[in-house]
């Protein structure tokens, strides 16, 4: 087995990066934003992919990337014009290359006619330049030395004066020749000049070798492979008896084997690749450590400062270090949003083409970094928003011209970090939200009570309601009303918020605010009976102890709390999770008002608030099983497991099947093993 096969993994990891860079470059070229350096970069990517592919014997990949690379090379040399058709072929070739890489990675066999049309186009373009591409050079097997008869060769080797300048060393050539057989060497010093005119770096000696060998003449020529342009060389077979050697000198002995001695080596790489699992583990551990440290800090506050001054100082220092450590570790796992943004130009181009619209995308803040857990979840909502902007926002070119706008619509995608959260904006210069139309539709569907007049913001935000679509002809692009409500749900499940502001006739702006990570969460620790729960802080609006007069029972809808003229439905956590010994009267416990999707605000009835804390989120699904109304679990400073409430789902189950025991009895302590 090829010992280099162990680098397969590295190769495919590298390919992923190269493909991404290549796609970005191709996009830029297609948009007219690329320059020569972009083209060079794309070439290098394809070139590197091909280079590695050969080592692992991915023949299809080598063949295709070779064709692709050849066309790119022609483009670099301006032998092929970078016109629309050519760029289209390049984009398709990029896609095909990604598929072929994926197939190689998964050991999948592609059908014989895979990407036949792209291959055909590439070939056609290349033939047009009459630069027939040589087939990729397959390594020829090293010439087997024929154990046939031995011959005597006379070799005259006359270096040109510049041979030494390229660090070729005649002595090494002589040693190689010696390995082929019995060698006699004669040095001809006649070209040596007088010392006063001698160039110290020029080659003046020439040699005449007599070699008795069983090796073919080709093997002898191979020895001189690197110097054939820097010397005059004659190799001829002679009769065994003849010898021209004037002075036979013993050639230097072959080099000693350097052996397997352990050697120190300096690694100069500026970055290293680390398995994501290891990173995740590190993030988890640091999270745990921060929690333990928080607990220690809390405990230490009960100690008299004067009796344990250094202990308390130490704990304070620990708190600082722990926080910095956590930030650093989170930074390791952070990735620029570029990886997601980079896919969007493609979305815009493809969709604009199929809608008959013209649009371009402008991106800013691509280098903003977010934790990979968030990045992974960002693609769907972002794609959906971009599609929505193109489908519903940007007008057809004629309509835009009539409205006095540029034919080409602009979608602006921006990312920025603001006060510990990431803000992502998608804005367009399209037609904006038609509030009259939205309101009419909302009334028609009973989403707005008759007789009420919502404010502009409220109307704009109606588009996030489930099953709301104003597209006159429902297209299969933004979907059948499964549009912005899905986006909102996605964003909320990430612990984020989304809002829209719009000006009719001149465009809309969607602003998403997301946490920087999903691994830790700022939570409110609350108690219900003996149980402790975490309510995500981002969901909480306020907490209060209501008066008895404010609690009303509504038939069929349960209890509601009258709060500043609004009725907020109450959800009793002790009922949701069948907890006994809990406070059942909201007037003696606490009502925490949380923002929930769909139904708006909900009041959670709990016993008491225990305090605010940053918690490390553990998946319940991975460690136990999915539980309705719970989004995860965490371990508190005291070692007990606390469940993190999924506020949105709680509401659903409370409204949906209040009577059904959907909220099975669940004891978090049962999760603590040994």
């Amino acid at each position: 087995m090829n010992p280099l096969a162990q680098f397969r993994q590295t190769y495919f990891e590298e390919c992923a990066g190269l493909l991404e860079e290549m796609q970005a470059g191709l996009e830029a070229l297609a948009d007219g934003a690329g320059d020569d350096e972009t083209l060079h970069a794309v070439f290098r990517c394809v070139h590197s992919i091909k280079g590695g592919a050969g080592v692992f014997g991915f023949d299809a990949l080598v063949a295709f990337s070779h064709l692709f690379e050849s066309l790119l090379d022609q483009l670099r040399d301006h032998r092929v014009p970078p016109n629309r058709d050519v760029l289209q072929v390049l984009l398709h070739a990029g896609d095909a290359l990604a598929d072929i890489v994926a197939a190689a990675r998964d050991d999948a066999t592609l059908p014989e006619d895979f990407a036949a049309d792209v291959t055909q186009s590439l070939r056609a373009l290349l033939e047009g330049t009459s630069a027939a591409t040589p087939a990729p050079h397959t390594p020829h097997p090293t010439e087997a030395s024929q154990p046939g008869e031995r011959h005597r060769y006379r070799i005259v080797f006359t270096p040109r004066t510049e041979l030494l300048e390229r660090a070729n060393e005649p002595l090494l050539l002589i040693r190689q020749l010696q390995r082929l057989g019995d060698l006699a060497v004669a040095a001809d010093t006649s070209r040596l000049p007088r010392l006063d005119v001698m160039e110290p770096e020029a080659a003046y000696l020439k040699w005449i070798f007599t070699l008795d060998t069983g090796a073919a003449e080709g093997s002898i020529r191979d020895v001189f492979e690197f110097v054939e342009d820097d010397c005059d060389l004659t190799i001829e077979r002679v009769a065994p008896a003849s010898t021209d050697a004037a002075v036979a000198v013993e050639a230097a002995p072959p080099p000693k084997g350097t052996g397997e001695a352990p050697i120190a080596h300096t690694v100069l790489a500026q970055s290293i690749r680390v398995d994501v699992e290891k990173l995740d583990r590190l993030v988890n551990l640091v999270g745990e450590m921060v929690i333990t440290q928080a607990m220690l800090t809390e405990e230490s506050q009960t100690l008299p400062t004067d009796r344990y001054p250094s202990l308390i100082k130490g704990i304070e220092a620990l708190a600082q270090n722990a926080r910095e450590l956590q930030d650093s570790v989170m930074a390791i796992r952070a990735q620029p949003v570029k990886s997601v943004f980079a896919r969007m130009p493609r979305v815009v181009r493809d969709l604009a083409a199929s809608l008959g619209k013209e649009a371009r995308i402008v991106m800013t803040g691509e280098t903003t970094e977010i934790d990979k857990t968030v990045i992974e979840q960002l693609n769907d909502p972002l794609t959906h928003m971009i599609r929505n902007a193109l489908d519903h926002g940007i007008e057809p070119p004629e309509e835009r011209v009539k409205a006095g706008k540029l034919r080409v619509g602009t979608i602006h995608l921006a990312a920025a970090q603001r006060s510990g959260r990431i803000i992502i904006e998608v804005s367009d210069d399209g037609r904006g939200i038609d509030r009259d139309k939205v309101l009419a539709k909302a009334r028609e569907r009973g989403l707005v009570a008759p007789g009420t007049q919502p404010g502009d913001d409220e109307i704009d935000n109606l588009i996030f309601l489930p099953a709301f679509s104003t597209a006159e002809t429902i297209s299969n692009i933004s979907g059948r009303g499964v549009g912005m409500d899905v986006v909102k749900r996605n964003v909320q499940s990430l612990g984020g918020r989304i809002d829209v502001t719009s000006k009719f006739g001149s465009g809309s702006r969607f602003v998403m605010s997301l946490p920087l990570t999903l691994a830790v969460l700022d939570g409110m620790v609350v108690s219900v009976g003996r149980q402790t729960y975490i309510v995500p802080l981002t969901a909480i609006i306020e907490s209060l102890r209501p008066k008895a007069a404010d609690i009303h029972r509504v038939v069929g809808r349960g209890d509601v709390l009258a709060l500043r003229g609004e009725y907020v439905p109450l959800t009793y956590l002790h009922r949701c999770f069948a907890i006994d010994q809990a406070i059942t009267d909201p007037c003696r416990g606490i009502v925490t008002i949380v923002q929930s999707e769909g139904a708006g605000r909900v009041g959670l009835v709990i016993d008491q608030l225990l305090g605010q804390q940053q918690v490390v989120v553990k998946s319940l699904e991975a460690n136990y099983e999915r539980v309705e109304g719970i989004s995860g679990a965490t371990i508190l400073g005291n070692g007990r497991v606390a469940l993190i409430l999924d506020v949105a789902r709680l509401n659903e189950s409370a409204n949906g099947s209040r009577s059904a025991p959907a909220n099975e009895w669940f004891d978090a302590d049962a999760l603590v093993t040994a």
Binding site: N2, P3, L4, Q6, F7, T10, Y11, E14, H40, A41, F43, R44, H47, S48, K50, G51, G52, A53, G54, V55, H66, P134, P136, H137, P139, T142, L164, E165, R166, A167, N168, E169, L172, R175, Q176, E225, F226, D229, P255, G257, T258, G259, E260, A261, I263, A264, H265, T266, V267, L268, A269, Q270, R273
Partner: protein, 121 residues
């Protein structure tokens, strides 16, 4: 003392493979990912051989070779270029810039060690 080799390639896969193979053969190997970084590494120590890719960002292989040959410290160091196929143009270009020899990708570990030992025993 083990010979020191600098391998210059923007592809980590390629650097890894070259390093691994040569270290196993008893060489000491350092890495650089482009010509510019390679020059910085060369300035910081003595090397017995440079193996360089030609297509690299920032500074390509040809420019690297010219710079090395134009300098004083490593002007006599053997330099092998890595080419993807038996491309005469690239070889000639490399040779003209001052390359000692070449290595055709993809290479087998044996071939790599063999070529390296030809110029750097």
């Amino acid at each position: 003392m083990a010979k020191r080799i600098l391998t210059v390639d923007d592809s980590k896969t390629m650097r890894d493979m070259v390093s691994y193979t040569l270290r196993k053969a008893g060489f000491e190997v350092n890495e650089a990912e482009d010509g510019k970084k390679a020059l910085a590494v060369l300035a910081g120590g003595r090397f017995d051989l440079v193996i360089t890719d030609l297509n690299m960002p920032v500074m390509d292989g040809i420019t690297l070779i010219r710079n090395v040959r134009a300098g004083s410290q490593h002007r006599g160091v053997p330099i092998l270029i890595l080419t993807t196929e038996a491309d005469g143009v690239k070889k000639a270009e490399g040779k003209a810039a001052g390359a000692t020899g070449w290595l055709v990708k993809p290479f087998s570990p044996d071939k790599l060690v063999d070529v390296v030992q030809r110029v750097c025993p």
